[in-house]
């Protein structure tokens, strides 16, 4: 990822890879194969079967995948997942980046603000869901506050209304995630060269210009991590939706992960659930591969 260090590194590398290095690679790789990939292969196989968790799985070919695309709940969940990926990913990355830039330079109060923003991260997603469920109750904090400032017309049953349920959960998820992304970007910003920024400020560059042309290009490394984390988290989102709405009311806040869990563990349609998982995995892979190909090209060019 860095062009600067490349020549030096090439010199330092041993021509033949020592045996012990293979061991260094093999042990972790095999642990991951055993704990992750081998079960995954089983799941991929399961997506081609009909299985209820007991006895033998019955191979059915691609029938599960064919059924998926005539399943309205699945298609709705797919659409919600797009909304979720854009809303959750977009808001937490933009919010996190904006806050990181705002809170980057040391000044009075910055430590407190930073702490306030990333404190939610210490709570598990299930607990976060629980917190917010209380706030969203019909007589909860949010409606009470709206009433207090004279906006009674806006009071809603946030989680019971199919038009608002998904977004209500989204707000809670973003509330927790923003601090996390901010921390990552703060780390990235510390790695940028402040003299460049100061120099361009002397040259009369506006704040936006300095960010766009000086800071942003230096954040490429951290962007990769933020991107990977955001895609992983948005496609795997489960606990918080499960804790707040369980995908309801009538599937309006259903995501692929919650639908998969319901199919797999409430209905024991494990073959069908595995097919949904394969779709999630494929989507994540498309995102990541597209990005990495671009990143690699940039690096090469």
């Amino acid at each position: 990822m860095t062009a600067v260090a490349a020549p030096a590194r090439r010199r330092s590398r041993l021509r033949a890879v020592p045996k012990v290095v293979w061991l260094f690679l093999l042990v972790p790789a095999l642990v991951e194969v055993g704990m992750v990939f081998w079960p995954a292969v089983n799941s991929f196989y399961l997506s081609l079967t009909e299985w209820n968790g007991l006895g033998a799985a019955k191979p059915v070919g691609l029938a599960n995948f064919r059924n998926l695309f005539s399943d309205d709940v699945f298609l709705g969940a797919l659409k919600n997942n797009v909304v979720w990926a854009i809303g959750f990913g977009g808001l937490s990355v933009l919010g996190g980046l904006a806050l990181a830039v705002a809170l980057n330079r040391p000044r009075r109060g910055v430590g407190l603000y930073r702490s306030a923003i990333y404190l939610p991260m210490v709570f598990s997603l299930a607990v976060t869901g629980l917190f917010w469920r209380v706030q969203y109750q019909p007589d909860g904090t949010i409606n009470t506050l709206l009433g207090a400032v004279g906006l009674d017309g806006w009071e809603k049953q946030w989680l019971a209304n199919p038009d608002t349920a998904l977004y209500a959960v989204l707000v809670a998820a973003v509330w927790r995630q923003v601090g996390y992304v901010m921390v990552l970007y703060l780390a990235g910003l510390k790695g940028t060269d402040p003299t460049l920024d100061d120099a361009s400020a002397m040259d009369g560059a506006s704040a936006w210009q300095r960010f766009r042309f000086v800071t942003w290009p230096q954040l490429r490394g951290v962007n990769t991590v933020v991107f990977a984390v955001t895609v992983i988290d948005s496609l795997r989102t489960f606990d918080i939706v499960w804790a707040m709405t369980q995908g309801g009311p009538y599937h309006s806040s259903e995501l692929l992960s919650t639908y998969m869990f319901q199919q797999g563990f409430t209905f024991l349609n494990l073959g069908y659930a595995s097919a949904i998982a394969v779709v999630i995995f494929a989507l994540a892979l498309v995102f990541i591969i597209t990005y990495l190909i671009r990143a690699t090209k940039e690096e090469a060019g």
Partner: protein, 293 residues
């Protein structure tokens, strides 16, 4: 908590003797940040208040009302019948070894991939990262079968193993970026002095990676400590459940006892909060992923 957030702001604006233009900008900064911080902290303050209210107060006046009671019943119940104390200790027993083993193994893999010409190393790295993209829900059944065939089902070792396996990809990816950014001259000199591959790893690379490892350790702690789904997959004995699963049990039983659930949530968050704040300094230098410094 709210007051603490606001106080320094007020002092700051009063005491500053800076030129009017910068002063105005500072005002603007605090005018935006202070309310934002309050909004961010508000839900947590709210839960904290809920945890200290009595059951009758909540049942009679609703969850949104300002507290008129102060009671430790929520905490007493959470530690007593909810057995949060035992669950916390279990979580520590899982989290500490899991974090150490994962980071150790990830640093091995990252070292091998970043400092040596291993064929297809980029593909290996991406494949390992891809493992992290798998939605965990669907691996639940196969994973519990794997654990069983290893004779590990319903042991804490199983939970540690699965956390190690599932974290490796991401940590390797981050450490790889960090190690690649270390200048080659450092190891070159040691190599010429006759240091072996292992001693270069142990004496040069690992110490240099300390900030990155610290940052990842903090992240890993919050992830592993807050995990729910793997815990309930590979464990079935109540006495072995970590804190998040114990909290779930508690929610099932105390659904209308908001003070107990809130108290337990607060208890569950304290250890991660401590770790996070203890390590927060390292974040600034720890995640410089491949940046050209």
């Amino acid at each position: 908590m709210t007051a603490a957030t606001l106080d320094p702001v007020r002092q700051d604006t009063v005491a500053s003797g800076t030129p009017p233009n910068r002063k105005r900008r500072r005002w603007g900064f605090h005018a935006v940040m202070a309310p934002l911080a309050v909004i961010w902290v508000a839900p947590m303050v709210f839960v904290l208040m809920l945890a200290f209210r009595s059951f009758d107060d909540i049942a009679g006046r609703g969850t949104a009302a300002l507290p008129t009671s102060f009671s430790l019943d929520g905490f007493r119940e959470a530690f007593g019948r909810g057995e949060m104390g035992r669950a916390l200790w279990i979580s520590v027993q899982v989290t500490v070894p899991a974090v150490i083993i994962t980071l150790l193994l990830a640093s091995w893999a990252a070292y091998a991939l970043s400092r040596f010409e291993i064929p297809g190393r980029r593909a290996i790295l991406l494949t390992m990262l891809a493992g992290n993209l798998l939605p965990p829900q669907i691996l639940l059944i196969p994973v519990s079968r794997v654990m069983e065939s290893l004779g590990l089902y319903d042991t804490l070792v199983a939970l540690i193993a699965i956390h190690v396996g599932f974290g490796l990809g991401f940590y390797t990816f981050v450490l790889y970026g960090f190690m690649r950014s270390l200048p080659g001259e450092l190891t070159e000199a040691a190599r010429i002095d006759g240091a072996g591959v292992v001693s270069i790893y142990a004496r040069i690379i690992m110490p240099l990676c300390r900030p990155s490892l610290a940052a990842l350790a903090a992240l890993a702690t919050t992830w592993i400590f807050n995990d729910l789904i793997w815990a309930i997959t590979v464990l079935r004995t109540e006495a072995k459940l970590p804190v998040t699963a114990a909290l779930l049990n508690l929610q099932g039983g105390y659904v209308s006892n908001w003070n107990v659930v809130a108290a337990a949530s607060v208890i569950a968050a304290v250890p991660t909060a401590i770790v996070f704040f203890a390590f927060q300094r390292h974040f600034v230098s720890g995640l410089l992923v491949g940046s050209s410094k």
